[in-house]
Symmetry: C2
Subunit: 174 residues, 2 copies
DNA sequence: ATGTTTTAATTCATTGATGAACTATCCGCT
DNA sequence: AGCGGATAGTTCATCAATGAATTAAAACAT
């Protein structure tokens, strides 16, 4: 695989060339966008690698973790779609996959018979307890050389970006 | 769609609950990972939205931009795979798609007959010149409220993360 | 020179995710 | 009560991306 830093160097060159041809381009901001996307993809890859041995998908893992983290260990497909930012179609597939492995159960809601109640099983909880800890060292390594202040800054800046993105998607997407 | 900030709030709760059950978890770092992934996905969505009217894909757009930004406007599938972090298989598809629309051409290399030379066409350049500027306002909006220092910090922290990720993927992926 | 290994690109089969159409249930209204 | 519209979940068809196998040409080693 190509190194992330190599790709970034090339991106830097590319952006400065393009911004010479098209001076109106917000070069700094475009660069930050690309940077963030590239780092995000890199992290995603790293995560996928850690999940592969467990035959888990990014979205399946996320769904399972959301269930795990809820006080009652249960939710509904619709809610999970929201929280995991997944399409309803895909959530059906995810629930199928997790249910087939006995990590979750699907039951009918009594109050609203359209609703399906998804619940993490004891096996699901054991599974999470087992697979999570081996990830910790690598997560730590990702932030090697980050001071507490660095982390606070990154946190703040990412949240600010999220706020701006929310405002953007509110706008009548022109 | 669900707001990013809502998802983030939920994630915060989730992480703090999980870290109570599993105190060994590097909570701050895990939260930063999730934050970055979520913001990355949000940006990706925003980008996809701007590309859709042009019937372009994220990876197709990136490939086209790499070609556009090169001094000679040409490259090879293998090189493009590296720079765009795409699989060779997918690059074949991308090149097919772009070539079918007349944005690039595919030719045989003379020096090495295994190689294929991909070159952006004049139409491809016009296409980029036309589609790029309308994106600028939205890119600017993403960074509303960011001071020059904020941007510098974000840039620095993302690059540091990239470096760490590179070291991680070097390691004998255990 | 000739046989082996490596590299470049493609094709084919499969997985993951999306969009459109469908079914069942609930809510609001007259 | 019962009709119309909204909501929840699923199924089916489609697209994008990946992995394994294939072809062709170059590089390397005898």
């Amino acid at each position: 695989m190509a190194k992330l830093t190599t790709c970034i160097d090339l991106m830097d060159e590319g952006i400065s060339r393009v911004s010479q041809i098209i001076p109106a381009m917000p070069a700094t901001e475009a660069r930050l966008c690309r940077l963030l996307l590239m780092v995000g993809e890199g992290m995603s890859e790293e995560l996928a690698f850690k999940l592969k041995p467990h035959k888990l998908n990014h979205s399946e893992f996320l769904t399972l973790m959301i269930l795990y983290s809820r006080p009652d260990g249960s939710s509904t497909p619709g809610e999970l779609c929201e929280f995991a930012t997944q399409g309803a179609t895909n959530m059906t597939r995810i629930a199928n996959a997790l249910a087939r492995r006995g990590l979750i159960t699907r039951g009918a809601s009594e109050s609203d018979r359209r609703r399906v109640v998804i619940r993490i099983t004891a096996a699901g909880r054991r599974f999470v307890m087992k697979m999570l800890p081996p990830m910790f060292p690598r997560i730590d390594t990702m932030f090697d050389g980050f001071s507490a202040t660095d982390k606070r800054h990154l946190d703040r800046l990412l949240r600010k970006l999220a706020g701006n993105l929310d405002r953007l998607s509110d706008d009548p997407h022109p």
